[in-house]
């Protein structure tokens, strides 16, 4: 019964969490309170692990929560529950889009959506990377500005920018190299 309930709770989360992985957070806190499956502290662990392992953050959190609650079978119930609404909703959306494909209404809406996606992704990327380049919280005056700049991060950023342009390698090559550089040069988290 626990398995069914896990599936159902995460199905609800998948259905109502709009806008990506971290949008599932409020639902997890709510779940912790109403079911007692895990504590708020465990959720903080889940975030830390989900963000430092590969894979979509929402899926990682559901897997972690499922395991904590009901072991290996729990991971499958929670994760499948989480993705089910997406699969169903997107298939419907795709069918509707196919029907109106080529209509000027859909084309005009996407004409506005595409630049918006560029803006959204640019902002998400910036928010993820800026703590590695500069520590805003440490700036309290002009003198602290210099110490707030993360030089090693900036050097790696610029070097990677030009290397990636010059050598067309699979992204994972650069990710692996950066992980090694981070360990060797003791990058601050």
């Amino acid at each position: 019964m626990l398995y069914l309930r896990l599936f159902f709770e995460f199905f609800k989360t998948g259905l109502f969490a709009v806008g990506g992985g971290l949008a599932t957070l409020p639902f997890l806190f709510n779940m912790a309170e109403s079911t007692g499956w895990f504590t708020a502290d465990t959720i903080m662990d889940m975030i830390a692990v989900s963000e430092s392992t590969p894979g979509p953050i929402g899926v990682n959190m559901a897997t972690y929560a499922g395991f904590t609650t009901a072991g290996v079978l729990g991971t499958i119930c929670a994760t499948v529950g989480l993705v089910c609404p997406s699969v169903i909703v997107i298939i419907f959306v795709y069918k509707i889009l196919e029907k109106f494909k080529g209509s000027s209404l859909v084309n005009n809406v996407f004409y506005g959506l595409r630049p918006a996606v560029a803006g959204l992704v640019a902002c998400a990327g910036l928010q993820a990377v800026y703590p590695s380049l500069i520590r805003l919280s440490e700036i309290s005056g002009l003198t602290s500005l210099l110490s707030a700049i993360q030089w090693e991060g900036i050097i790696l950023f610029v070097a990677l920018y030009f290397l990636i342009k010059k050598f067309k390698k699979h992204p994972i090559v650069w990710i692996a190299a950066s992980a090694v550089i981070g360990v060797v040069f003791q990058f601050a988290a």
Partner: protein, 179 residues
Amino acid sequence: MNELFDLFLTFARVGGLTFGGGYAMLPMLQQEVVGKRHWATEEEIMDYYAIGQCTPGIIAVNVATFVGYKNRGVLGAIFSTAGMIFPSLIIITIIAAFLQNFAELEIVKHAFAGIRVCVGVLVLNAVQTLWKKGVVDKATMVIALVVFLGMLLLDVSPIFFVIGAGLAGWLVKKAGGAK
């Protein structure tokens, strides 16, 4: 059957190699799904992202479902999504079972600090491609900048920007067509 398995494997690779959530997945998708497999065009991936922002669920899964369904119907959608979540299931289960303090390990912290810089550069590259495809005139330039600054400075859900941008696109085209 073969292509279904291909979908599973490709999305397993995308899921297993992506660090940092939906937006960080873009460079991998461009490499694997657009470049290598031609399962979707650059524009289609952008459309899926926009739709994924304002439909329920994880954006990565939404995009996987789109690509899978487009190429192989319902089964394709299921195989792509299964592929996308497969690496997470394995990796997280191992960590949750044996390495409870994984995220606190010094070596993991340093490695991830390096990875974060790299993901930033990869995303910057992906944005340059998106920008070239999406920003085609003055109106689209304004939309991109407003969304970027709005997301940066205001505490508002991205859904509002996506809906607003769609509306703006429609209005601009309509006004332009009436001239």
